[in-house]
Amino acid sequence: MSFAQTFSFGESRDSVSRFGTTSCPARPHRPPRSLGCPLGPAGWPAGAAARTGARCPAGRVFGFHFSFPGLAHFLSHRTAPGRGVQGPHLSRVPPAFPVDPKEANSCGSRRAKRAQRDGKLQKSSALCPPPRLSRNSRPWARAPQLIHSPGAGPALHVHTRVRGGLAPAAAAPPKSRPGSRSPLPAGKPEPMALFAVFQTSFLLALLSLRAYQSEVLVEPLPLTPESLNVSIDSAHQYLNLQWSVHSLAYYQELKMLFQIQISRMKTSNVIWVGNYSTVVKRDPVLHWSWKSELPLECATHFVRMRSRVDDAKIPEPRFWSNWSSWKEADAQKSLGRDPLFLFPKDKLVEEGSNVTICYMSRNQQDNISCYLEGQQIHGEQLDSNVSAFKLNKVSFIRKTGTNIFCKVDQKDVIKGIVLFVSKVLEEPKDFSCETQDFKTLTCTWDPGTDTSLPKRSSQSYTLFESFSGKKILCEHKNSCNWQVDSDSQEMYNFTLVAENALGNRSVSVLFSLTHRVHPKTPYNLFLKNVSGTKATVTWKVHPIGNYSTLLCQLDLLGEGNVIQQHNVSIKENGEYLLSELEPDTEYMARVRCADANHFWKWSGSISQKFITAEAAPSEALDVWRNVKSVSGRPTVTLFWKPLSKLHANGKILSYNVTVENLDRLSGLEVHSVPATANGTELTLDQDSYQIHVTALNSAGPSPASVIVVSGDPGNEEVEEERVNGTEDGFSVSWKPQSGKAIGYVVEWCDHPQDLPCDLQWKNLSSNTTSTVISSGAFRPGVRYNFRIYEISTERMAYLLEKKAGYLKELDKSACCQHRIDNPEQKTFVMENLQPESVYEFLVTPYTSAGSGPLDAFTKVTTPDEYSHILIRIILPMIVCVLLIMITCYLKSQWMKEKCYPDIPDPYKSNVLSLIKSKENPHLTIMNVSDCVPDAIEVIHKPEGSKIQFLGASKSLTETEFTKPAYLYLLPAEKNYSGPGPCICFENLTYNEAAADSGSCGHFPVTPEALPGQPGPLTSPENLLKALEKNYMNSLGETAAGEASLNYVSQLASQMSGDKDSLPANPPEPVLCSEYKMQMAIPLGLASPPPAENSGLSSTTPLDQSEHYR
């Protein structure tokens, strides 16, 4: 027994209950073929055995009987009724059966069917529960006991199973040792009576022995699975089981059922139970595999099994053997010492399937987190150090696999696996086969998604034909060629199997070869006898078989469209006459063919272009004329419109103009006009002339267009009427006059302002009295003149009416169109425009063919008429004013003298000398001041802060410095050279005068001066006193050599502490305020650093420079 059958079952604890033992086998009783004896014709082998006992080795027969009571059972059934053996037949005793026979039969048959369907594995179900066997029960021990007597051929055996303690005390049971060989010869039917006696007595003993048997009989069971060995196939996650069954001494083969239990982690944790049915041969080694969802490396597994004969040769009931001992499968032992393991490695699965992965850590304390493509996954803890993750419906991410990794937190351990997810193998789509020549069948299909992965080949395709039984491996992924051997096979049943590492998909198609003919593309398509309207097409096809006819489709295409379509049945050569063609036209003939009997597919098509021959133009020219008088002679200008391609029927080579004098008999005058011209000019006399105009191509002239002109211009004095343009054009109507008109012509110029004016005309039938004249050349604001002519039966044209109008009148000012002939000119000046008016203009280019598209108008408003006049007035005025101002400035002295002369000086007054000399010699004029104080800067120093008096190199502390509330500066006396420091205070009363007098005195400051002097500080004296102390304090910081400096004091009130809110009025000195003098230093001694300037920005540099004077 060499095969190893593999089954895969879902792991579930439920399976324990679902997969029980098979309890009710019901097999038809058939003679055991392995007996080795020929069966009797009536199927009574016992009788036959008896009759042919001499030929059958008795020992073997009886030996078998002894070994397998089931056979005895069979014999008893057949013998008792047939041969009239009398006696109790305990097999009929209902209580003896643990299961109702009917139920057993039904279950058995059902199970047998299922066994057929599911393979050899049988499972129990709720309907067919397993028998309740005690652990120590030994089925064989309770097996039917065999009664035999020497010389008595037929043996009656009774199988019974008595529940409870009904059985009487019994003698020692006969040991029917399976496998033991009986020395008894083959029995004969004669001693039946004796046998019956023995039977009865033995039965009694047997019944009494049941209890004893169940407890005491300890016979080794020969069919218990032995040498169970379990190994692990890590690559495929298989538990491979191998065991053997011995002692099949008397059978070549025997069908057996094995029940297998698999536990995880510990033996009591049974995760799977299942049955495996197989035919066991002599000394077999059996194999079976179980696929684990959980990677086997992550948990120890335990396996045990038991067996039961499940062969029809052995009648019921059949009993399970003992369980084998548990066998352990532990893959963990072979792992290394790594702290973390992740399984399974490099697993290949199909997209959408479920995968279980697991990790196993060596250290239970480790905190492990696992990630799938960066996303953390959470699993189920199986053990203290084993966790499993079930990934449902894994998706394909990339061909190179999906990474899953786990890492131990706080430790630098990363372990990972790669899950190779393959795309789902699709069933081949659009599978079909066809032949072109009955020699090769070409099968094609759409393979769908490529399931290949790196180092794993893509799906392969195999083509199998069931009628011939042939099979080929396809070289391509989407097609396969099948050689048709002979004509004998008409029907084909192909099965295409797509297969990859994970499975296969197949698709079938059944067809008749003759219904799958796809002819080859026709060839040798030619056009013959191509005239202006007809052409013959010929082509050839590849013959298909001997009798097949092809249906060919001939298409005639003109300008890409199918114009004609014809179906032609042919064998090999095709021919068709195409008619109703247009002359001088390019066509394309296209042919494709299909099987005429069973249409399957069109062949590829073949096509050929051709051009039909030219024919004479089919229509007369549309001719019009203009008659004018040049130098007294009527000059007729003929115009005609070129023939359309449809009517020209070829290339127009020239035009023929034939002039015939209607008044006088003279020869025809023929003019040939080149094809490029659209008209010609004829100088005639006052006679009437009939003019024929024809167009000529290589095939001949067109029908003539006839026009009659007369030297008499006719009635030109027709009153002009107004016609209004609409969006569609000009709607022109007229009144018929003669009633004999054969038609009308409306004539106009597309460009009435140009020369030539591009004469246009429109032919109208005689019953028409109105028409709409439209032209792309019409422009708004242009006057168009229309002349309506009546064509008489003599082909003469008479002016009927005149019309004039605008397509659209451009207000009243629509007048101006200027033509700029110089293409380089880019500016144009419009003159004589009205002021304060809105103009619209546009510029459009033109060529000899006409003007370009009209864009939108641009609006321009002309300026006011008076604005420039105003400018002419105001500007001179401004200039005048400026001149006056400059003059005044330059002549300021003169102005001063004239406008506001100086006040006379009293000293210089003549009156003074007069008084002095005559009345009072002591009279003097009061001096304004003897001492003019220097400038005083008054600052306010807030309470608790000090403003440092700084030396030459020190700067004020900006943050504490407050802006002076007001400041008066007077220049200090430069040439003063008095001893000691001198301070010059501003005299608020006389400051101006003092400044003018330049007599600022410097008071020596004495240390005795009082600080904080209360009282008004408005006088210089008080100010001085109040400032003295601070000055002296600061003086201590100054060098002695600075004593001759001028000083400037600053004063500020408390109110002005916030420099951002300077009071508008000068501050009033506040009592108890502290004042300090600011020292001014000579320019030569030191210059303040720039920072000082910025810090004192509020005092302005001007102030400082004043200080330093």
């Binding site: 992740l342 490695k345 490099d346 990630y371 493509e373 960066g374 991410i397 990339r398 061909k399 190179t400 696999g401 999906t402 990474n403 990794f405 630098d412 351990v413 990363i414 372990k415 990972g416 696996i417 790669v418 190779f420 790196p454 180092k455």
Partner: protein, 202 residues
């Protein structure tokens, strides 16, 4: 662009063909130094290309796993004091040993990636270039040792027993370590050769 790169590498690999005056030690050092600099330039590209091709976590931004080590690769990390105290022979032989091991490991990584990423020709080409450069460095260092009259240790199989049964994830990790160490050793080679350049000016 591969062909010029290969030709360029071959010129670096091959000893100078001119039969004229042999290259001076300084010239050899300069040549090796230039090669090391070019290897340094290509280093980050190679590592990025490699990591991107392996998927998460390798391709995650900022991936780094310094704990992953290969016992068959000598570590490039060295204390400055020890490094500074190395004599010429020891210094060069360590670089040579490292690049010998790296050459063999890069071959292994290339083989691995041909299995795992057969459809990534850029990665495979970069790995092959890296191996050729490592071989070039090996030859250059040997030439310097010869020029300086230093004993040239015999090449040996540093790879040892390769676990051919390594799983795909293990091979991805292995490749990462090799490329990372290749970078470290390139950095160290640049410093070593800069030292030699200063010591043996042309």
């Amino acid at each position: 662009f591969l062909l010029p790169a290969i030709l360029c590498l071959l010129t670096l690999l091959l000893p100078p063909l001119s039969r004229g005056a042999p290259m001076s030690p300084a010239e050899r050092i300069t040549q090796a130094y230039n090669l090391a600099l070019s290897m340094q330039e290509n280093m980050s590209t190679l590592l990025q290309t490699y990591l991107q091709a392996q998927g998460s976590p390798f391709s995650d931004p900022g991936f780094s796993a310094p704990e992953l080590q290969l016992s068959s690769l000598p570590p490039a990390d060295i204390s400055f004091k020890t490094w500074n105290a190395l004599d010429d022979g020891e210094r060069l032989s360590r670089v040579q040993g490292a690049f010998l091991a790296l050459t063999q490991h890069l071959q292994l990584v290339g083989d691995d990636q041909r299995d795992l990423n057969p459809d990534n020709p850029i990665l495979l080409a970069q790995l092959r270039d890296a191996r050729l450069r490592a071989q070039g460095m090996l030859g250059n260092v040997a030439a310097i040792m010869t020029a300086l009259g230093l004993p040239n240790p015999r090449a040996e199989d540093t790879l040892g027993l390769v676990p051919f049964g390594a799983s795909a994830f293990e091979r991805k990790c292995r490749g990462y370590i090799v490329i990372r160490e290749y970078g470290h050793w390139t950095d160290r080679a640049v410093r070593d050769l800069a030292l030699f350049k200063a010591k043996y000016p042309s």
